[in-house]
């Protein structure tokens, strides 16, 4: 079992740096414990903050009394929503979704009502963290508990308790007269769905449910804020995007962005969950009130109960196909839980539901529903995993009913260049067909699976991948190395994948580039590390900066060699002109002696999606005695466009797969009738350990992205999408039972098998 790279599907370009596997630039720091994460900071004179959180899932806040806490020696400041400026109803795009600042402010500190168990209500700063927690317990909050609504279908009913009295559904239809918990209704339509179903020989419709799951990064949310006497605010924080933190802080605190500096420290995982602010504005206000730097680090239960999980969902998907295996029509009805405030991930979910297939006729209805759970956030390909579970299970059933091989059936209908997605866009060159073919060619597919209680499953997944803004500067040093200054926080090796693109363009080695992730005062605007965009978009900026450097180097070479710049040629990092020749490094040394400093600049804002597809092949064994599902063998195939650093591409594929496996088999928020999460710890919220998994085999397909000089598509998100349906389809083959609910945990599987054998 090993990693394979599928044969090139295009003319192979020869690269010196791209496609190699250098040791990443920050790894010595990270294997010796020297890398500085936010909680490792000890800012002089620092004090500690702690939150007071709602013990109710839904309650009116009658009063908050901080006086007892304030009297405690060592307590320096308290803070409630009254300390935040009045929020404005303004919507902004943060790169992986939009935010309404009134909602964001109300999520950071509850106003009038607590909308979920764990909702922050107040905070306190004290000279040590234990004292801060004791003081938080002395802040007295009087609540008037209200009935809570905890599941999407209940929350949509007319008689459900309302979270927001003013919430009127945003819809293309007539504006409803009455408020409800339905924040928006999205609709897409292509062709004529009735005609499509009329032309089908087989139609299958199924209902699906998925549970709330968390991104599960190991580092809790943590920040240090320092509000200086001159009015400047500095925040060290664990974030996927320092500039979007700056933007949110400026809007929430109503101050100019130029007064705020965000210092991104090393970050211990994010997966979409570290984009929205939580503790940052509170630490800032506490710092302003006590005049000292304030650190707030969440406890793990706070992370589960009060930061963005990704939603639970209720979905109905119907698909029709002809006898010869052509899809004719699709219909999807999707309701996602947004959490306590509008703006969940239903938008991308609705766009992704049929994104792998060429469907002539389809309709999609999507509902964003508020209920008494934490505000949901993006989680790696947000929304796409939910809908893939529904669609890919129905596809599998159709293939079975039509007696067509599941890969052939998918190949028959796969989206390709020119396919128009139900939500409108037409695909440019994409690699789904190539991924399915690579799976057909794999050793895994060609090795039959034998033995009782075993089954094999297949599924596909799609994610858009975005472009967005990135800026870099690159300074040529006197020794011919280049310092690359960037604003993309590095969560999984992007310093290196970006540096490699600069190196390739300049004809130097990866080691000759020194990448630095800097604060918001030291580089141009850069969007989040998210949307699978960093290696693509910041890499594009690095490529531009390299071309800028090359232009300046040519001019300096011309000056040194006393010829015109037109006479200087560059190939593979070697500059030639007037009969002379120098490598990049040697020329940089000469240029440093005679010329002005050479600084390259790259700024980009690509508007395209780079369209990633992945396919899984999985073998499982189901224990009929316990319902436990063991993954015997797992292969993930993905179109990377071009794998800059194959090890880290494989790493994304393996990590995303493992998260998808956890989502499929174990992970879920258990809620009691009181709306309290019953399993807010890593012991009870059961993420896969290494004992739960096999090796994860990877096949990298490279169908070049036409919108990038090296063909990069971005790889981070799509591998989480196919595992749940691939595993469901495998379990069906092992047990004869189809599953329509996630997670497929041992009790669920055991009950279903038992029901089947007793004929229930």
């Amino acid at each position: 079992m090993s990693t394979e790279v599928a044969p090139d599907t295009q003319t192979p370009a020869t690269y010196k740096v791209i496609g190699t596997r250098p040791v990443r630039h920050d790894s010595a720091d990270k294997v010796t414990g020297k890398a500085v994460y936010t909680d490792d900071l000890h800012v002089p004179n620092m004090v500690f903050g702690a939150f007071v959180r709602s013990p109710h899932a839904h309650a009116r806040i009658v009063s908050i009394d901080t006086s007892d806490a304030e009297k405690m020696p060592g307590v320096l400041a308290t803070c409630t929503s009254a300390d935040l400026p009045d929020p404005w109803d303004k919507v902004d795009n943060l790169g992986e979704g939009c935010v309404n600042y009134a909602h964001l402010s109300g999520n950071v500190l509850a106003r009038n009502k607590a909308l979920y168990k764990g909702h922050a209500v107040a905070a306190v700063a004290a000279t040590d963290s234990y004292l801060a927690q004791e003081a938080a317990r002395r802040i007295r909050v009087e609540y008037e508990p209200l009935p809570a609504t905890m599941c999407v279908q209940d929350a949509m009913r007319n008689d459900a308790p309302l979270l927001h009295d003013e919430l009127i559904t945003h819809t293309l239809d007539d504006k409803p007269a009455r408020p409800s918990n339905i924040a928006s209704h999205i609709q897409f339509e292509k062709g004529n769905v009735d005609e499509g179903f009329a032309a089908a020989d087989v139609v299958i419709e199924r209902e699906f449910k998925t549970a709330t799951v968390h991104q599960g990064y190991i580092e809790p949310h943590v920040s240090v804020a320092l509000w200086n006497e001159d009015g400047r605010l500095k925040i060290w924080t664990a974030t996927q995007g320092s500039f979007v933190v700056r933007q949110q802080m400026a809007e929430l605190l109503k101050m100019p962005v130029s007064q705020i500096t965000i210092v991104p420290c090393e970050i211990g995982g994010g997966f979409g969950g570290k984009i929205s602010v939580y503790e940052q504005p509170v630490a800032a206000v506490l710092s302003r009130k006590c005049g000292r730097p304030v650190k707030i680090m969440m406890q793990r239960d706070e992370v589960f109960e009060a930061t963005g999980p990704t939603p639970a969902s209720f979905m109905r998907v119907k698909l029709g196909a002809t006898k010869d295996g052509k899809l004719t029509a699709g219909k999807a009805w999707l309701a996602f839980d947004a959490g306590a405030f509008p703006g969940g991930v239903i938008g991308p979910g609705a766009m992704c539901v049929f994104s792998c297939y060429d469907l002539p006729h389809a309709t999609v209805d999507g509902f964003d529903v508020v209920l008494n759970k934490p505000k949901t956030q993006a989680y790696r390909a947000p929304g796409s995993t939910h809908v893939a579970f529904a669609t890919e299970c129905v596809i599998d059933e159709l293939a079975e009913r039509l007696k067509i091989d599941p890969i052939e059936f998918r190949l028959n209908n796969a989206a390709k260049e020119g396919t128009r997605r139900v939500d409108g866009p037409v695909y440019p060159r994409v690699g789904l067909v190539e991924c399915l073919q690579a799976i057909q060619e794999s050793d895994h597919w060609k090795t039959p699976l034998t033995g009782p209680n075993r089954g094999r499953g297949v599924a596909c997944g799609f994610w858009f991948n975005c472009g967005l803004k990135s800026s870099v500067t690159a300074n040529v040093n006197a020794d011919g190395t280049v310092t690359l200054v960037e604003g993309s926080t590095d969560i999984g090796g992007t310093r290196t994948s970006i540096a490699m693109q600069l190196a390739e363009t300049l004809g130097i080695t990866a080691e000759d580039v020194i990448p630095q992730v800097v604060d918001t005062d030291s580089v141009g605007f850069t969007d989040v590390t998210g949307g699978s965009r960093t290696t693509f978009a910041t890499g594009l900026a690095a490529h531009e900066a390299a071309l800028d450097i090359q232009k300046q180097m040519v001019e300096q070479a011309a000056q040194i060699w006393e010829c015109s710049p037109d006479e200087v040629t560059v190939a593979d990092g070697v500059y030639q002109g007037n009969g002379k020749s120098l490598s990049f490094k040697a020329l940089a040394v000469e240029a440093d002696k005679v010329g002005i400093p050479i600084v390259g600049r790259g700024v980009v804002d690509p508007q395209c999606s780079t369209n990633a597809f992945a396919v899984n092949l999985v073998d499982v064994e189901v224990d009929p005695e316990t319902g436990k599902v063991t993954i015997l063998r797992f292969t993930v195939c993905q179109d990377a466009g071009k794998a800059i650093h194959p090890s880290y591409v494989e790493g994304q594929m393996q990590g995303g797969s493992a998260q998808g496996i956890g989502w499929a088999l174990n992970e879920e928020y258990f809620y009691g009738d009181d709306g309290h999460m019953r399993n807010a710890s890593f012991l009870d919220y059961r993420m896969p350990t290494c004992y739960d998994l096999p090796m994860i085999d990877t096949i990298i397909v490279e169908v070049a992205n036409p919108d990038h000089p090296y063909g990069v598509r971005g790889v981070g998100e799509v591998p989480i999408v196919p595992p749940p349906p691939a595993i469901a389809n495998a379990i069906y083959r092992a047990t004869g039972v189809r599953f329509f609910e996630l997670p497929m945990s041992p009790p669920t599987v055991w009950n279903a098998i038992k029901g089947q054998t007793t004929g229930e």
Binding site: S27, V31, T32, H42, G216, G268, G269, G492, Y648, G655
Partner: protein, 157 residues
């Protein structure tokens, strides 16, 4: 009221004062600036805080600092010797066995303890040995392979 504790950390005698309620993790990080061990959960479920205590890997968030009196402690900062990375560290870095890196110190300490006890572990033994450490980024594949590579590289110590 603070308690005086004398202990050995990475071979050197260290004295500190701590509150009786402080965990070993809190003292290592907040009082002694040994921030290599990480806090992921503070309740014994993630392994990011793993250190060696008298030859056994422990979750330092579950040990009270006062229990370190007279003990020998080794942290991730003590794994490399005189500027040379340990083979495990080298294999982690060459094998791309980390992404965000927050779990890495805990894995290195646990894996080193595992290899000292069992220099040639099978894949299952490695997976069992590391099951107390959570990593959310890598899917563990490259971590297991790095430990395999290190076990083949050197029958050290």
């Amino acid at each position: 009221m603070k308690t005086h504790v004398t202990t050995t950390i990475n071979g050197a005698t260290v004295e500190f004062l701590c509150q009786p309620r402080q965990s070993l993790l809190a003292v290592l990080r907040d009082e002694l600036s040994l921030t290599g061990c990480k806090e992921g959960c503070n309740n014994g479920n993630c392994g990011a805080c793993t250190v060696m205590l008298d030859g056994l890997p422990v979750d330092s968030c579950l040990v009270l600092a006062v229990e370190a009196e007279g003990a020998e402690i080794e942290t991730v900062e003590g794994i490399a010797e005189q500027g040379h990375l340990h083979p495990l560290q080298q294999c982690f870095l060459e094998g791309a066995a980390l992404q965000c890196g927050i779990c890495t110190p805990g894995f290195l300490v646990t894996a080193k303890a595992l290899l000292e006890k069992n220099p040639q572990p099978s894949e299952q033994e490695i997976r069992f040995g590391l099951a107390g450490n959570l990593c959310r980024c890598t899917g563990y594949d490259k971590i297991v392979r790095a430990v395999q590579a290190a076990s083949q590289a050197s029958p050290e110590s």
